[in-house]
Amino acid sequence: MPGLEDLYREIILDHHRNPRNRGELPPPAPHAVGHNPLCGDEIEVFLQVTDGPEGLTVSDIKVGGQGCSISQSSASMMSQAIKGKPVAEVQALVRRFKGMMSIPDEHGNDIEPDPSVKLGDLEALQGVVKYPVRIKCAILGWNTLLEALEQA
């Protein structure tokens, strides 16, 4: 399908077909539900946050909900990328990812990419920026993650 290769990279379709870390964690796991009010997509994020050698660490994450290939694969890749990472690193990754999605920071300014933060597979989502409506899809899981972290 000409023109959409940028959006639907193979790795994205793979995460869409086989989402990683799917499931739930029982209460009192920190937990949040995110909605994309435009299309009805819903993502649930469950966390296990424990004290580790490098401070608070996301020792486990599960992702639930339903959505399109972009929101599902983005959340799936996100879960892989942050599992086992210290919260501080997770936050830096969220920032980096939002920067890639052209989302401004809390002051409305562009986010400069921090080269020390590695995106790995998540780079595959770069093509989404050309489809502004889909940015909301790609970012849904990440905003839900932030909300869940606030509960931790």
């Binding site: 399908m1 023109g3 959409l4 639907y8 290939s69 972009i70 889909r134």
Partner: protein
């Protein structure tokens, strides 16, 4: 009256946007349930009005303003005739149908509804006919009851008398923006009245596509929007029976809606000014008048007939070509549905489907269509929706089918 077939080729020519080519190919616009395209006559009326006749209305004595006022009030008469309202001042111009429904909930609702009072809605309402009532639940403690649906997406009326028992309001759509279902409005109004409830009709999806007669229905109120009926954005209508509108307190306060203002209070103007606070969408109302003339010229019975043909063809084509791979929500009986189809296709998420169809310039909306309660009932978070209007024809159905054909490639199903 036998009516005549619409000449869709000629009609399409009258819509400049439908002549546009995107990435070298023509557009197939199938999102008219969301908002419709505008014929040249509406665009020209709007531009000409701003070029030659734009002026304040109602408040100035000079000739230019009198001309503009005549055009503005002339559009009100056109709308009155279009829906067969009894009096011209039963037509109130708002910014959209959403404001019209909120006006009712705020003004009529806050004056008449107390804790425990019952408002009946249906499971296929648009958020615009749900959220204003939710606000009254939170603020006043009113109680909502919901008319359920049958398996094929019609209203299940078996328990309607019980649901309406003791209700103050029955507010329902005349046509679902998701399922395409046309509801039996006259019967529903009668049922509401038999129970002593007001009948509020959400006419957003019905008025643009059918002959509307609020007197025959005996509707108490009706809300609809210009932008879905070939008119400009920025203007909606609230129809209301004179005595009901008269008895209601005002909603928005400001210029035009007052008889007098003193430091210690105000008195309201007569209808319809009482509900038209501030400078109205002057140009847009005039443009809506042109849209009404355009539709009247085609004949709404002819529009309905045409859309029934397209709907029947779409149903047949999509089912024949895709069988179990396609799921068409809503009634199969064309008599009780419009040409709006929510569909599921293989396992492709509607958002992805819409993106892929867009590669072929086929514009369909993916999402919850502002009807999340209905989505939950259907067991989906979203659908793709193809909605046809008077400028669509069977070629557009074929274009949709062809685009669907290619859609699964990329996802490898």
């Amino acid at each position: 009256m036998t009516g005549h077939a619409l000449d869709t080729a000629a009609i399409k020519q009258q819509f400049p946007l439908l002549q546009r080519r995107l990435n070298g190919a023509p557009l197939v616009y199938l999102d008219s349930a969301n908002t419709s395209q505008k014929p040249a006559v509406v665009i020209d009326t709007i531009a000409d009005f701003m070029r030659h006749s734009y002026a304040p209305i109602n408040r100035s004595a000079y000739q230019l303003a009198a001309e503009a006022t005549d055009l503005y009030e002339g559009a009100r008469s056109k709308v009155q005739q279009f829906i067969n309202a009894r009096r011209v001042h039963e037509i109130v111009f708002t910014k959209n149908a959403t404001e019209s429904l909120n006006l009712l909930a705020y003004s009529w609702g806050r004056a008449n509804l107390r804790a425990g009072d019952v408002v009946v809605l249906t499971h296929m309402e648009h958020h615009a006919n749900i959220v204003p009532w939710h606000m009254l639940v939170a603020e006043r403690g009113i109680v909502l009851r919901w008319v359920p649906l049958t398996a094929d997406g019609q209203l299940d009326l078996t328990t309607l008398p019980q649901l309406l028992d003791g209700a103050k309001v029955f507010s329902f759509t005349a046509m679902s923006n998701v399922l395409g279902t046309i509801t039996p409005v006259q019967q529903l109004c009668a049922a509401a009245h038999a129970a002593g409830a007001l009948a509020i009709v959400d006419g957003c999806q019905y008025v643009p596509h059918n002959v509307t007669d609020v007197q025959a229905w005996d509707a108490d109120f009706m809300a609809f929007s210009s932008h879905k009926m070939c008119g400009p954005s920025g203007v909606g209508v609230l129809y209301g029976k004179e005595d009901l509108l008269e008895a209601m307190p005002p909603f928005l306060g400001g210029g035009n809606m007052i008889a007098d203002v003193r430091l210690d209070g105000f008195t309201t103007a007569d209808l319809p000014a009482k509900f038209e606070a501030g400078t109205p969408p002057i140009t847009e109302v005039v443009g809506m008048g042109a849209a009404v003339d355009f539709l009247t010229g085609l004949g709404m019975a002819n529009v309905r007939n045409h859309e029934m043909e397209v709907a029947a063809y779409a149903q047949r084509t999509l089912t024949e070509r895709f069988g179990d791979d396609i799921q068409l929500h809503g009634p199969t009986n064309i008599e009780v549905r419009g040409a709006t189809f929510s569909l599921g296709f293989r396992n492709i998420h509607p958002h992805d489907l819409s993106q892929v169809l867009d590669q072929k310039n086929v514009c369909v909306r993916a999402g919850h269509h502002c009807a999340k309660p209905l989505m939950r009932l259907l067991g989906v978070t979203a659908t793709a929706r193809a909605s046809f209007y008077l400028y669509n024809d069977t070629d557009d159905v074929d274009a949709l089918a062809d685009a669907l054909d290619g859609a699964s490639d990329i996802f490898g199903y």
